[in-house]
Each structure stands twice: as C-alpha cells, then as structure tokens.
Symmetry: C2
Subunit: 325 residues, 2 copies
C-alpha cells in the first residue's frame, strides 16, 4: 500500500529539535503535588541536558490544574539557560497575561480539534477557542513572545474516536490565520498510527510548505517512535517528549499508569543512533532520566531506563561474565 509521503521525502531532517514536556505534561498528570523547590531543581537539571526548549509550566486556573498551581513561583525561581527556550502552556488570555508577567520565551496556546473535547475541557466550542488565539497572539507579539498552537485531539478524541483529517486541517487553517508562529499536532490519546501521521502531515505541508510544524506524541499504542520516523520523513523536525515518558492522556486505561509521552531518553537514543543532529546530549538525558525516576519514585518507564542501549547491554554482559568466572 502507498504511504502518501511527499516527493523527496526519503530523507529525514538533518537536525531535529526537542521540547521537554516533563515539567508541564508530566507534573500535571502526577497524582501528587511536586513541591515548588523540587520542580525548580528538576527544571534546572533539564536545562542542562541540551534540549532546545522546555515547556516548564502551565498558566491555568489553580483549581483546574492544582498540580501546577505554583506556575508563577516556578517561573520566578528557575535558572534560565540562555540556550533554552522556556515555553509555558496558556489555555486563554488570562493565562497569556500571566505568561507575559513571567517573561516566557514562547507560549503553547492550547486548542482542541474535537468539539466534544473542547466543550468538556474548556466549556467552549473549538471555533471559540480558535477565535481566542487572535488575542493571545496580539498580546504575545507585543511582548516579543512566540506563539505555538498546540492542537490537542488532532488524531483521536476520547469521546468521538477518530478525528477526520479535514477537521484537523480546518483548525490548522484557523490558527495560521490567527498568526501563530508554529503549530504542533498532538496525539492526545496516543492512538495515531504511521499512515494517519503521514496523511495528515503531508496534507499540512501541501497547504503550508513553510509552516513550522511539530508533533506531540503520547504513546498509548506503542507506535510513537514509528510515528516519529514517519513524521520526520514528511519533514517534521520538532518533537515534544518527556523524560521517563511522564505525562500523557487524561483518560488512559488502567495499568498504563502515568506513562504516556514518548520518553525523551528513548527519542534522543533513536535520533542519535540514526546520526540525526540533536542538541540534546544522550548521556546527560540518560542521567537525568535516572534522577527523575529516583526523585519521583517511578518504575522503569522507558527502554533506556531498562538498560536498552548498546552501552548498557554490553556492560551487563561483561559484568555477568565476570560474575560467572
């Protein structure tokens, strides 16, 4: 069967940028509040891994997302690495105002493609959310803050099931018309497959060949690295991921725990192994994954954490051999 990749798409991007989502998507989904000073400590740690960008908090109403109620304090207390772009999620203009106060570099203006999801999550229609983006862009650009539209439920919705591609493209049209600087499609449910990824991004690039397009992957179905590969072949060169895979859909099945995003360490492992340039340093990302796992008392939630790299496997084999001699 034909995967409808655009002509010339046999190559992957020379370089890929990575957005670390742990402090927002990860901490948000945790069943407990991570104390502010611990958040600051871990964000400072993440600022040293070489990732291009960190979504470090969300300026949401404290009652809506109590795990991130300390967003303003976190913004004040973190050490900002000049090589890192500090991004925050904003669900509305009030959030954007707080983001200006916090002097962020970029905001993730949240939009959801699914009508039912928009109503359930934000008590607005998708059109109303998209209309609100205009004001967010205006305020952001007045303060030299970049705006990325993070498009939730671009592929599947927990209430509506599969989202027709035309519906996703219509929202891309809306946010582009609103003047956002970047668009990121998100697999909120983690159920997208490589064909759907290829079809969607091919269509997006046909409409907007020069648009800065990223992908935010949850991994409910285990296809996130395959989806990454396909998206790269379509020309996508910016990926969200989270150390230890922490974060992901709000309505994941039992047993999938807090694990939901592509683990940053697994993503950087694959890209580095493939010779694709990433500023993130694999060794530092791996070390940080172990720190986060220990600090947050997580199980092994990624293949890298389980020792699934050539270095760790060969070490393991050598140690075993010595042990048995």
């Amino acid at each position: 069967m034909e995967i409808p990749l655009p002509a010339g798409s046999l190559s992957t991007p020379e370089a890929v940028s990575i957005v670390e989502m742990l402090p927002r998507d990860g901490f948000q989904r945790l069943d407990r509040f991570v104390p502010t000073e611990k958040k600051v400590e871990l964000i400072n740690q993440l600022s040293q891994t070489g990732v291009d960008e960190i979504e470090f908090t969300s300026f949401t109403h404290p009652k809506a997302v109590p795990t991130l109620k300390d967003a303003d304090a976190v913004a004040q207390q973190i050490d900002r690495n000049p090589d890192v772009c500090y991004r925050a999620l904003v669900p509305n203009l009030r959030g954007m105002e707080r983001a200006v106060e916090a002097e962020v570099d970029k905001v993730n203006a949240l939009v959801t493609v699914s009508e039912t999801y928009s109503q359930n999550n934000q008590r607005m229609s998708t059109d109303e959310i998209v209309a609100g983006i205009h004001d967010i862009v205006e305020l952001a650009h007045d303060h030299d803050i970049l705006v990325e539209a993070g498009m939730g439920t671009s592929f599947y919705c927990p209430y509506e099931g599969r989202i027709p591609m035309e519906q996703t493209l219509a929202v891309v049209d809306g946010v582009v018309a609103a003047g956002v600087d970047e668009v990121t499609l998100a697999t909120t449910m983690g159920l997208a497959n490589p064909l759907q990824i290829a079809e969607t991004f091919t269509a997006v690039f046909e409409r907007y060949p020069d648009l800065d397009v990223g992908l935010h992957l949850h991994d409910t179905n285990g296809m996130s690295l395959a989806n990454t590969l396909t998206a790269m072949q379509c020309g996508v060169d910016r990926f969200d991921s989270s150390v230890c895979g922490l974060g992901g859909g709000v309505v994941l099945p039992d047993g999938m725990g807090g694990v939901g995003n592509t683990p940053t360490e697994d993503l950087v492992h694959m890209l580095t192994a493939m010779g694709i340039a990433v500023t993130a340093d694999f060794d530092r990302v791996e070390e940080t994954a172990h720190i986060v796992k220990d600090e947050l008392d997580l199980g092994p939630t990624s293949h890298v954490l389980m020792g699934g790299t050539p270095e760790r496997v060969l070490e393991h084999v050598r140690a075993d051999k010595e042990g048995s001699q």
Copy 2:
C-alpha cells in the same frame, strides 16, 4: 540526513506475513518448563489466529535447551491447520533429521554472524556453521521442506557490539550460495536502529532483488515498530513476532524480564491500522494474547495488553463516564 532507501520505496508492501515465535522463542526463554500438553493447547490456539506461519519448536539437544526437550512430542500432538506453515528451528544436521521425522513444513536453519557468538553458542566458527547449511538444505529439499536461514546477531552481538554490515552481507552470500529458500535477519540483541535497518536491507536487496527476506525483531531499545516500518519501506514483507512479546535475547538487562520480541498483537495492531493486509486477525490475536498472559501468568507485556487500542480506550472512557454519573 539521507536514509538510503532504494528508489520507489515510499510504498510499503500490500501484504505482510507474520511468523508467530511464541512456542519456540517464547517458551525457550521462560525460566520454567511449560508442560507438553499446555504447549500443544497454546500452539493450537495460535493456529487459529490467522498467522501465516508458526515456529512451533526447536530440534536442539535437550541438554542445550531443556525448556524445549519435548520437541518431538509437541510435533506429534499439535493439530495442524492446513493454512499455517509449521516451522521448527534446527541448529545442525541432527536437528534437521528430527525435523524430517516430525514432518515440518519449513526449518529455520540457525546461523550467527558474530564470530564470538558462534563460538560461544555453537562451538563452531561462523564459516563452519554456514558450511553445515549445505547439508541441511539437501536433506530438507529431499523431503520437500523449505529452508529459511535465521541469521542471529545480524546487527549487534552481546560480545562484539555492533556488527559491520559487510560481515552480515557475507553471511547472506554464504547461505544464499548454500541454496536456502529464505533469509531472515535477526536483531538478537534488540539494539538495531532504523538507519542500520535501512542500510542493511537496501544492501541486501541490491545484491539479491528477488530474495525472500524477513526480519526477526527483539525490542530491547523500543524501536521494533519503527524498525518494522523502515524494513517495510525497503521491501521486507515477512516479520517474526511473539504473542505477549515473549522471547528475546539471552542476555537482556535485569528488569526487561522475559519480554524481548515484538509483541504479535502490537505488530498486527499497527499493520491493520495502516491498512496493510495481514491474514492474522487482530481480534483473535488480541484474545490469544490475553489467554497466553493468563496461562503463563505474565504481566502486561504489550501495549495492546495494556488496552492501547482505540476500541479499548473508548470503552474505558465510556465505562468511566457511566461510573461517575
């Protein structure tokens, strides 16, 4: 960067065939002996999932692989579905003689590319193993049995690390010259990445455009579905996998447990979602995965078992909603 896929490789195969490895690779690696009648029961169950082929046992010396010491009895007792190809692993001519007795349809003649691995595992050089394939092919073809050369350590070796591609290609040359009907490259360590997969299969197809080539994926690094996708784009249309992911490398790091192969249910899920024709029926494979998990008392070892499909996620969301009303 360029992934060196051959021209015209934007399409994936129309149809893909799947070889179920649970009864050999899975049972072999288990830390306990699965009683013969239980093996037979589970193989009979697997024969109804629609998979094209089942590697149902290994005719290895009982002392070398005690978990499969009942190979001959298993061969006698299973119900053979005429739509399924029953394949067995044979490490040498003695194994091939037993496979003839057992009236198998195909054998997996094991070869290992890594010199150190060959010496450690079979106490022979790789050349000696390849030379032995000639006799296996002769005996097999005398009895209308197909021969597939299963090439272990085609990408990484637990002792030597990364295997240079030329070394793998030389073994492909050797087994093709020996007259095998098919070749399967195996990621014994589960450490191959999509670029290595693309480079290797492109080179194989350049030498042998019409060769029947398959891929046996272990998943130590989590890249097995990405590797599957890349291999399909190179033209590979036969994949080994194991229900519940059971099986995999002999020297996996702690914490990776018995999980090592691509889970059949995750593979069939991806292929089916992408509209690629497989004879395996997803619903029956999913059901069988749950049976195997329960019978062998495994944890959830695949994304499908954790409920990572659109159907299960939507069910879960609906149930949650009803529960909260």
